[in-house]
Structure formats: structure tokens, C-alpha cells
Homo-oligomer: 364 residues x 2
């Protein structure tokens, strides 16, 4: 599969939920497969906090495939021999779409903290504009996990006739204080890092040594993406061989994992983007804009498919089940699957073999 | 109850598990109630990570009572009309016992990072020395929660004939990687804070503005002390009234709680002490020094009482139940109670009314 990132540029304003506008704006995206003549084979895939539009395939010269490559491709559950798959980088993210480090028109200086707060509603508005620009006005399905699952749900509520099927994995109807608490570690660690300079860092400052605050915040993230069982399976109480048990900074394997992964991450991800996306996750609430959650969910006309993971400690299965029960009470079409996984929230990325059969069934 | 902190000074060495020694050393402690003639009414209470020897009563002019005041006092579950209660500040903690900021004899300069790593085993050795100095050689009971519960268990294993009853709450047989992960946030946030200066900070530096790294690490701590349900009950998705929903740094109530509590904490607790105590918690493993966990637990001769909390997300009830099952398999005397609480790990401090009846029964 030949992979190429495209960028769509918009000169018309994007009206944000906050009342502010984003103008102009750009959206980076990738497509896989071929659009059929009546444009009836389009699937939109939505990414999570640290993801990007690079959902599948391998770039030339690269070694790592897109984040859902196990699910998207020829003959895979989201079959690119049948479907035309689109994945775009969300507004606010640092991988090519308009974000806090984009120039604040008419200036050529970046927005930084002047960037408007964006929400999940805004992210899907932007994606809708992208689809319109491609002359796509109806989707076969919208699929996403975590923050991507939020977008899928929000699409279902805000644009009831836009997709036939909504598949939301490892998400919720509204971000709970437990998750906002985890995000708070990152917010404070980034803000209080002197190298963050209240957002006035040089964009190249973190190429070699990532921002510590982002790495520290990401440790809390990793805890919430894993689970007590998956950590036990993965690391146990193993100690790093060369570290002494009685050295203050000697490390357990789990500590080395956290250090290594978060240091890498802090070199690759923009701290301002992280703050803005975390804000979008925190403010996610299907109810906002409608009187009640019941009223919001009542709007959904697509078939809704909810997939949760038993050991998810970030968005608990009960949160997804809550949506399903509400749908059922209203006789709206809804299915619910709780995947038996030890892998925690990350299961939607790493245990694809446990649920790809379900995606296949839905898209048959 | 008149409360007074005493300090016991020891000139003989404390032999540490690491092979290093601590010499001289001091232990701050408090006692409540009156020692009877045959010294058969002594109860040792052990504190948690951020606790101290001030377990009960109110200091003159102070407003806040000791951390287990609801449990310890005249007519209370740990009845000071009957029992002589001792609570000492652990070695390494910053409230009066020898710690990283104590002078490194013969120098008058503080140890800082030269302070030896101390373990739960070392903490109880030190307490045993304190008791010896008070000519107390047998205890009616040892009671503690969280790190205090670890100490109680370790006492039971290392000194099988020392106490009649061991009451351990909200603890484990060995700290699991999930918990080590939470602690890692604090370790990295403290280490990477420039004001930490690799441990060479001025002791007065944090009186006004606490160390940010400690505050950030403590946010992760608070998450692990609460539970999804308790956060939902306490904060819901309420937004701080004066913050705008679409302000990047506008806050949910849960975020304000985290900010407020952790900022206070960072002014009161020494960062080096925090690192050393977290290390003691991470390295806690009843098995160490014995061939197997089975062999370690087989040593326990006291009646063991294990109390866990249903919603504890730091030390899961299953960890305590594991010890109980092992005890039962060996026909050792053991009781197990899982308290039905939504309050998370903190329940051992804040939901005393839910388990004090059990402590009362045990000590009858």
C-alpha cells in the first residue's frame, strides 16, 4: 500500500464551539483504498490523543506501520480492497493540521497560547469540512478508539444522518474526573517546566532533549493506558540488571519502560498540542449543546457499535455500557461488546486480534 | 489528650538491609495512654508515606488532629484508657527521625543523596530499637495502613513472637508494578525539577513555594489514593466557577483539588524524604530474605488480620486476600475483611466508621 500524506487548506473560517474562529486552517490526511463511483464506500477513521492521520501502511524508508495497520489494509477488517478509508490529523494536533504552532494569520508567528481551545465537536466539524472538500457527503462508517471513539460518538450525535455505522472503541459519553485527574499530571508538569517558557519555547528546543514536563505527564498517561494485570505480565517486579536494589535511583523494569518511552515521546510531540488535545478530551461531553445525555443520544440514527475492554482503567466498560443501555431503552440500534483483555486501555491498539472479527462482521 | 512529641537518640548503629549502617540515629515518636505495670498493653501504630508519629490528639494551638484520631483515643477502637499506644516517625521521613536532611555524622552537613536506601525492614528494625529503649519487648498489637500495613506485616514475618495481633490495612505482600508506576511520576518529577538541584537545595527553599516536582508527583499520588467513584461523587464534571470552559487553563473541580492539595503538600514535605520513602515502598517485598512468599508468611505466629477496601486502586483487595489464603492453607490464624467502600485507598484514613468496629472486636 503506497502511503502519502495530503494536506487540505481552507480559507473559509472554522466556527468553533467556543465562539472563536480558526481561519485559515489546514488538515493533514491520508487515504487508503479507492473511492467507488457512487462514493458509497467511505470509512472515516479517527485517531487518539497521540495518534495521527497515519493509521495504516508504511512510509517509504520507514519501519513502523501506521497505528491501526493491523486493522486497515487489503483483506483486513477494514478492507481497503472494498473501502476507501480516510484518516485525518485532528485540528490542534502537531502532525500537519493547524495547531498552536501554526502561524496566527495574518502574522507569520505561531499562535502558541493564543490558539483557541478546540473540542471534540470542533475536530469533527473540521473533518466534515475535509470530507465536503472531497465531495463526500455520506459515510459507510466512522471508526475510532479512545479520543477517536469520542469523535465517532460525537459524529453520531451531531450529524445523525451522516454515517450508516458508528464504531466507537474504548471511549465514554463524557470524560470522568478520574481521567481528568490523569491528564492533570501532564498539564501541570508541562506548565511548570521552565523550558516550556509559558509556551514561548523555540520549536526546535525539544528535538534533542524533549520537554521533561511532557515526559513526566506521559508517565501518568502510560499508567492509565495499561492495567495492573498487564503491568504485572509485562514487568512483574523485575529489576533492571545493572541497577542496584539499594541504589536510590536504581530502577524496576516498569520504571525503565516509563523512562524510555516517555523520553522518546517528548522529542516527537509538541507540548502545546498536548495541552490543547488534553483539553479537548477533558471537555468531551456528549450532553453539551443538548438538554440531557438522553436527548443527545436520542439523536443518533446510525447503527451504533460500542466496544469496550474489560481491563480499561481510563474509560471503564461501564461508561460504554451506559450509552448502549440508553440506546436500547429508546429502541435505537446498538450493539455492545466487552472484549476480555488484560491489556488495559491500550488494548484497542495492541490486541486487535481480539476484536477485529467484530469490525469485520459490522462492515460485511 | 495532652500530646507531646518525644525524640529517642541512639548512638549504636542501625544495621540496614543494604549492608550500610545508620549511626547515630534518632526516632521521633508519640505515645497515648498509660503503660501498665507488666507492659502488656502496648499497641504500635505505623504510619503511611506522608504520615508521621502524630497519629492522634491535637497539639496545643493546633486545629487538626492526628491522622488516625478517629481510631485512637479514650473509648475509641484503639482505646487509650486500656492501651498504651506508640507511634513513631519512620527512619527516612522528614518529621523528626533521622532522614536525608539530617547531619551525616561526623559532619554537620546533611546526608542528602548520600543517605542510605532504607527499606520497610529497616523501618521496623528502628522501631524495635525504640521499643527496646523503652524496655518494651512484647506488643499486644501492631496496626497500620498502606505503608504502615506493610510494616505491620513485615513485623509479623521478621519477628514472629513479638506481637499477639497484627492488623494490616490497605497494603500488599509486595508492591506491584502498577504502584511502582504511580511512584515513578513523583521520582521523575522531583529529579527533573531544576530547583531540586540534584538534592542540593537549601532546606528553606520550599517553605514559601514548594518544589513543583513534588506537587506534580503528588497529583499522581492523589489519583491512586482516590477511586473513579469517589472522584465522581466528590467532583463530578463540575467546573470551577470563575474559570471559562473554553480557557485552556480553566479547571474542573477535580483539577483545582489536585492543585490546591499538592501545592500545600510540597511546602510541608521534604522532597528527598519523599524519594527515600517511595523507594522503601517500591522495594517492599515480604519474600526478600526468605526463599519464597510461602516461607515468609509461614513464619507469622501472631494472629493476622487483613483489612482491604473494595475500591482501593493502589493496593487491590486481591493482594491482601492472597496473604489470607496462604495463611489459611497453612492453618495459621488469619482473618480477612473487605470493606465495602467507594473511597479508594484513602478509605483507611477517611472511612474509619466503616471498619473501626472490626478493630474494636480484635482488641477486645
Amino acid at each position: 500500500m503506497k502511503i502519502e500524506t495530503k494536506v487540505a487548506n481552507f480559507t473559509s473560517p472554522l466556527y468553533l464551539e467556543s465562539g472563536r474562529i480558526l481561519e485559515p486552517y489546514s488538515i493533514a490526511y491520508e487515504t487508503y483504498g479507492v473511492l467507488n463511483q457512487d462514493k458509497s464506500n467511505v470509512i472515516l477513521v479517527c485517531h487518539a490523543l497521540s495518534g495521527s492521520h497515519h493509521a495504516a501502511g508504511i512510509y517509504e524508508g520507514d519501519r513502523k506501520a501506521g497505528w491501526w495497520d493491523g486493522l486497515i489494509g487489503d483483506g483486513k477488517a477494514i478492507d481497503t480492497q472494498r473501502y476507501f478509508v480516510i484518516c485525518s490529523n485532528t485540528i490542534g494536533s502537531c502532525f500537519g493540521s493547524t495547531s498552536p504552532m501554526s502561524p496566527c494569520y495574518p502574522s507569520i508567528k505561531p499562535y502558541r497560547l493564543k490558539f483557541p481551545v478546540v473540542t471534540i465537536k470542533d475536530m469533527i466539524q473540521a473533518q466534515k469540512q475535509l470530507l465536503s472538500s472531497l465531495d463526500i457527503h455520506h459515510l459507510r462508517a466512522i471508526v475510532g478508539g479512545s479520543m477517536g471513539g469520542m469523535q465517532a460518538l460525537q459524529f453520531g450525535v451531531d450529524f445523525p444522518n451522516f454515517a450508516d455505522e458508528i464504531i466507537s472503541l474504548a471511549a465514554t459519553y463524557a470524560t470522568q474526573p478520574w481521567t481528568i485527574g490523569f491528564n492533570k499530571v501532564a498539564v501541570e508538569a508541562i506548565r511548570k517546566d521552565p523550558r516550556f517558557k509559558n509556551g514561548n519555547y523555540d520549536i526546535d528546543d525539544f528535538k534533542e532533549d524533549g520537554l521533561d514536563g511532557l515526559a513526566i505527564g506521559r508517565i501518568a498517561g502510560h499508567i492509565s493506558y495499561l492495567s495492573p494485570n498487564s503491568m504485572d505480565d509485562k514487568f512483574g517486579r523485575n529489576y533492571v540488571a545493572n541497577d542496584g536494589l539499594f541504589e536510590l535511583f536504581g530502577r524496576y523494569e516498569v520504571e525503565r519502560y516509563m523512562e524510555y518511552n516517555t523520553a522518546n515521546f517528548s522529542r516527537l510531540f509538541d507540548p502545546l498540542s498536548y495541552l490543547y488535545i488534553v483539553k479537548a478530551i477533558n471537555t468531551f461531553n456528549l450532553t453539551r449543546g443538548y438538554d440531557t445525555l438522553y436527548n443527545a443520544i436520542l439523536r443518533i440514527k446510525a447503527k451504533l457499535h460500542l466496544i469496550s475492554f474489560k481491563s480499561d482503567y481510563l474509560f471503564f466498560p461501564s461508561e460504554m455500557e451506559h450509552i448502549h443501555k440508553m440506546m436500547q431503552r429508546n429502541s435505537q440500534e446498538s450493539t455492545y461488546l466487552e472484549v476480555d483483555s488484560n491489556y488495559g486501555h491500550d488494548a484497542f491498539l495492541v490486541e486487535i486480534d481480539k476484536f477485529e472479527y467484530r469490525i469485520r462482521e459490522i462492515l460485511k
